[in-house]
Amino acid sequence: MQDLLITWIASIPSLALPYALASVGLIISERAGVLSLGAEGLMLVGALAGVGAFILTDGSGLVAMLASMVSAGIVSLLFAGLVVALRVNQVIAGLAIVFFCQGLTNLIGTLVSWQNQAVAGIPVLSLGPLADLPIVGPVLFRHDILVYLLVPICWAVHYFLTSTDVGLRLRAVGENPAAADAAGISVIGTRVAAIAAGATLIGLAGGYLSVVSAKIWIAGMTSGRGWIAVALVIFARWKPMQALAGAFLFGGIEALIPQLNAAGVKLPQYYLVMTPYLATLAVMIWQALGTRPASEAPAALGQPYVREERT
């Protein structure tokens, strides 16, 4: 029993990472006022690019992760062009990007035969003697490098948003683009940069999912994690550290499923798989029932900005 518990907890960070990075990436763009529903698609792009780069470079984890970040960033520019320059409705553009990415990754994955190829993944970095400690060892000190970097990354984004000049300007663009514009801040430039920066994290989340977690690329493998990340951002009230906490919650739920199976608990397989989605719904309902005085969303979230508007 205790072994199962330890195994369960030790497996959580790895499963939480995609949710965490995707949410934090979304927070960056949403704090600038852009509702990025394309996360599901960008994760797929990152996932495919990660596996592809891994195969092409004969196993370089670093290149694979970089590839997933860069590829998602590039695709996000397409999204940025649509919503910031062409002022397309952010929901439509987000959906279109998701389906574009789903189709594109499916197509490329099949044509270049990257799919269904097992990859070696990134090695686990055991931190020497610390990793051999009972209980604490496997839980905290036996992970791959990205997991170790997870908390610093989230904290860095938090610091960036709350305690830097650039972060202040980004938040201003998300709260009141007219005020930011009058202060001389480029609303368009800030939003495009936020979209791209956020996308790199989302892509990384996808790359981790395919190269490290599943060690394989399968079409559509993100299975809605992008949508869950969008819900997580709302649940985390647009704060990176809270998103991290929420991600651990979801990672915990996801990690529970194989442990229950191992424990011999006989539950209908597909209903178990449903749990993350039902959990997301439950979380959204629970949050809506709570009494919150004012919305914590960035005030201008989802609204395109035009300087000279005459009806």
């Binding site: 002022r87 409705n89 959906l95 279109a96 189709g103 499916n106 869950i228 959204m284």
Partner: protein
Amino acid sequence: MPFWAGGLISLSAVLLGLIISAAILALAGVAPSSLLTEFVSAVADPQSLRAVLNQSAPLILVGIAASIAFRARFWNLGLEGQMIMGGIAATAISLGKVGSDDARIGLMALAALVAGMAWVAIPLVLKVLLRINEIITTLLLNYVAQYALYDLLFGAWKDPADSFPHAAPFSAAERLPVIAGWLQYGMVVALVIVLLAFWLLQVSRAGFYLRFIHANAVMADHMGVQTVRIVGTVVLASGAVAGLAGFVIPSGMEGRLTQGFFEGYGFSGVLIAFLAQSNPLAAGIVAVLVATLFVVGQSLQIFYQIPFAMVQLIQAIIVMCVAGADFFVRHRLILQR
């Protein structure tokens, strides 16, 4: 600008989207000329024309379902989930042999309607009572429905005859009939729904109010419009029509409930509604065009080994081109601040 200029820009955008898609396909090994012949033969060859029309029926239905929901400012992205529930409900009636042979197909359709309505009711209630945004809730319920389907198809409803993950085939009485040897009855159903949607949106009083709800819900409230009642009714209708689509495919096309019958319809519905600007008559026409795309995609898959996901990609590219082009319709480009 003249009223037809907008249409012309949108049309060129669609063409641009198709050209981009053709370029991608060329990279994947399909010569543009062969692509063109595929498109032409899809409508010229009577066999494929029949396939296109049959494929149109469920597409019209999801297109209408999306359109009426969008007119109520409700992002019904759960079309696939509602289809699945509709299919499950209809199959339950079939497997349970409920009712007489003559009445059963009607009961199946009715069950599908109710199931689709019930599945959209969940996000609807969450939105009305708790103001939870329906984009995520409808999407999440798609996954829930999908896994519920798998649970049935891989478990209790697995066809004992061949042990494949699909349900036992429907009996002849449970299949939608074919008229005059070539026209699927599903098409008739679709046409009826188009006319009903047209009546609802353009002729009825509810449609009149809906225009205000869509444009400015606050103003509609001020004018005493029963916003919640109208939006609720329209959204439930949307779910019902999507559920009906989930009945038309197994009963009209595949003959049984299968694993992936719903795939691709969710976004196609949104695409159709978007291109048709939620106009029911236009949606009917756009749906036929999308059906052509589906049929072409199927033959690309068979003859050129291009995965069916290409169809999804082409649809997404077209949406992005048209959405982007709308900018030029709304704004005359002045190259200065």
